[in-house]
């Protein structure tokens, strides 16, 4: 896959993640029964934390691989779930909003910058390969 195509794919995936950061908590709060809710929740849990966190610790010209984003997301969500138990503060609705908002704080600027074509952010991504 060419680097240009990978870049477009990365931008598209960031957009999907950004939308899920808003849609998932909203649809969950409103208790909407819909495949859109399930899809946005799964994207929020499986991709959003990794897509948000990885660029904060290293801006790589190589890009982020799917397994890395997925494992980071799973680890973060497991840690949040465990933290709710530790703190005796079991509130899944609040946790979903927290996850969505914190992820969006990082994902939204990435997406905006990509759309504006700013230099300095990853130009290529391996997300399409793995």
């Amino acid at each position: 896959m060419s680097s240009g195509r990978r870049s477009h794919l990365h931008t598209a995936l960031l957009a999907v993640v950004a939308v899920s950061c808003v849609l998932a908590p909203l649809l969950t709060q409103l208790r909407v029964d819909s495949p859109l809710r399930a899809a946005s929740v799964l994207v929020l849990f499986l991709l959003a934390p990794g897509a948000a966190l990885l660029p904060l610790i290293w801006r790589s010209p190589v890009g982020y691989e799917l397994a890395l984003v997925l494992a980071t997301s799973l680890a973060v969500t497991a840690l949040i779930a465990q933290s709710m138990l530790w703190l005796g503060a079991w509130n899944t609705s609040a946790a979903t909003w927290l996850l969505g908002v914190l992820s969006l704080i990082s994902v939204a600027p990435q997406l905006v910058l990509r759309l504006l074509g700013r230099a300095g952010y990853p130009a290529a991504s391996h997300l399409g390969d793995g």
Partner: protein, 599 residues
């Protein structure tokens, strides 16, 4: 496209000038044919029937035909001069779907008896918002269950509804993780995807269902992959033991290479810088520690063996991992010390505890068990061939070798209820698959036949044996609404402290949080010495006091599969229980019966 004589556009094959595009179209057609065979198989399947060959005996032949089409197509794609990773990925994903989504599409209830107790823990956390460490070993490693309780609330879907699809999801995650780690060993896409393919066909262990071990395996594999790909080399040895170890490893390498000039590993660039890699490794490792008892040990052993043999990562990484694991085990120690041994050595056992005592199992039962074990032998032999091939070419990379062997050290320390060898095999498999791929991945400079035959033979041999492990026992893993309803009733309505008895060991565990009302472990009659299965023997065993005996369709299939009770004997027992003055029918759902002892 050409404008024909009648002014119509005519599509011609030769208009596809690009050979690569033609190849993609052919592979797409191959995949469509395989999926078509699969769909036909699903429509003709009879999953409720009992067969000594498990699901393979109740699926039409088109299922195997579809797998063969996929295998030939993948080998052809991997053998082509220009490798197209997207095409190879498509074959792997469809293979994963056929192997793990088939049961999700066919079964009305979650697969495997041992998944049901996870539902009970998830429901408990969902209801109480806490995990009492004294309740169960699972509540001492609660992160996975808490995550599922949260996810279930967010989705608005019960875990019982998505559990069957969890296996397909975890399988895809495993494949992505295997690709991730293999990229740290080679940049050749052909070898990478061949390793992923071999991992998929050799993984019959079935630990990727909705479980803490499936979750922690993905995290553990990525953590180990980050150590391989991102850790910097250690500083030169300073201590005496360090110099001694390095000298031994160097001497071993020289002896194995026999004078050949060693070639450096040609891997892909690290995805993260060293420090960032360490942060993410730590995050993933913490996730492993919080979710599973045994997985952290595999990661620690991997890190330690890499530190010694490949001089990365730093020993302090290993020390930190041990410290974190010791902290978490220390928190769980009050429960562990009363129920388990930290170190236990026991002979390996099969999940099918009754197979050894079965006198007349159905045809195919014993052979299935043997063939699945043969998978392990075959993949190890092919991996060994890969090591030798690499050494002949001057490739000395100790990392995959020690990572493949390291997990088996765990067996010496902890049998894990007899499942230790299978868990060790699972953690060794990504590296065995890479080494095997090194032996059989087609080489672009060879003739087509030579390119393809090795991979095709290994695929058929390993895959054929592995299928029996993956599907051979399905007659005992299939559940109906009757089984689940009876399981639910037992914990919702049986008197607290009452003894629960089942005929066979494959009855589902607690389905909801009410397992906390009754922590007395249930017993299956077939695992009791002498196997009491006549009414007088059962009455003597159950004694007096609140006690319940459950008979259900899943148990009936289990009994028939292993020849433990014939169909007429089962029905006769049912009739006697129904008519006995010492028992009352406490609950019935279709063909599931719960009898309560009344005396």
């Amino acid at each position: 496209m050409k404008l024909g004589a009648r002014g119509q556009f005519a599509w011609r094959w030769s208009s596809l000038d690009d050979a690569a595009v033609r190849a993609v179209v052919l592979h797409a057609a191959s995949i469509v044919i395989a999926v078509g065979c699969w769909v036909l198989a699903l429509r003709g399947a009879r999953p409720g029937d009992v067969s000594g060959w498990g699901l393979l005996g109740v699926l039409p032949f088109t299922f195997l035909l579809g797998l063969v089409v996929l295998a030939v197509g993948f080998v052809a794609a991997a053998s082509s001069k220009e490798v197209q990773p997207a095409v190879l990925a498509a074959y792997v994903v469809v293979l994963a779907a056929m192997l793990t989504a088939t049961t999700a599409l066919l079964y009305p209830e979650p697969r495997y008896a041992w998944v049901y107790k996870h539902f009970g823990i998830i429901d408990y956390i969902r209801l109480h918002g806490s995990a009492d460490r004294q309740l169960s070993i699972y509540t001492n490693w609660p992160a996975f269950f808490a995550l599922n309780a949260w996810l279930s609330d967010a989705l608005g879907i019960s875990p019982l509804r998505y559990a069957n699809w969890a296996q397909f999801g975890f399988d895809l995650a495993n494949l992505a993780a295997v690709l991730f780690v293999v990229r740290g060993l080679t940049r050749d896409a052909r070898t990478q995807w061949t390793a992923v393919w071999l991992f998929e066909i050799a993984n019959w262990i079935g630990q990727d269902y909705l479980s803490p071990q499936a979750f922690s395996f993905v995290l553990a594999l990525v953590a180990i992959g980050l150590l391989v790909r991102c850790s910097p080399m250690r500083s030169p040895p300073r201590s005496r033991i360090d110099r001694w170890l390095e000298a031994r490893v160097g001497r071993l390498a020289s002896w194995l290479l026999r004078g050949r000039v060693p070639r450096r590993r040609d891997a892909m660039a690290p995805p993260l810088a060293a420090r960032a890699g360490l942060i993410v490794t730590g995050l993933c490792y913490l996730g492993v520690v919080l979710t599973h008892q045994l997985a952290p040990v595999f990661v620690i052993i991997a890190a330690a063996t890499l530190c010694v043999a490949a001089r990365r990562p730093s020993p302090w990484v290993v020390v930190a991992m041990v410290a974190v694991e010791a902290w978490w085990v220390g928190l769980a120690y009050p429960f562990l010390s009363g129920h388990f041994s930290l170190f236990s050595i026991a002979p390996p056992t099969s999940a099918r505890l009754t197979l050894a005592s079965a006198e007349h199992p159905l045809t195919g039962v014993r052979l299935s068990a043997d063939l699945s074990g043969a998978t392990i032998v075959l993949i190890v032999l092919v991996a060994a061939a890969g090591v030798l091939r690499g050494l002949r070419r001057g490739r000395w990379d100790p990392a995959p070798i020690v990572l493949a062997g390291g997990p088996f050290v765990v067996i010496a320390l902890q049998s894990y209820g007899g499942e230790g060898p299978l868990r060790a095999y699972l953690f060794a498999l990504p590296w065995l698959a890479y080494l095997a791929a090194s032996a059989v991945a087609p080489r672009p400079d060879a003739a087509l036949a030579r390119r393809a035959w090795r991979l095709l033979v290994v695929t058929i041999a390993v895959g054929g044996c592995s299928l029996t492990g993956l599907f051979g026992q399905e007659s005992t893993n299939y559940y109906t609404a009757d089984d689940v309803a009876a399981a639910r009733w037992n914990y919702d309505h049986a008197q607290p402290g009452g003894h629960l008895y089942y005929l066979m060991p494959n009855f589902p565990g607690p389905v909801d949080a009410n397992f906390a009302r009754n922590l007395t472990p249930p017993q299956s009659l077939v695992q009791i010495k002498g196997f009491p299965h006549t009414l007088p023997a059962i009455e003597r065993l159950m004694g007096s006091g609140p006690a319940y005996l459950t008979l259900s369709p899943a148990q009936q299939r289990y009994a028939l599969l292993d020849g433990l009770i014939s169909q007429p004997a089962y029905l006769e027992l049912l009739r006697q229980l129904a008519q006995s003055p010492d028992f009352t029918l406490a609950y019935r759902h279709g063909s599931a019966f719960v009898f309560a002892l009344v005396r």
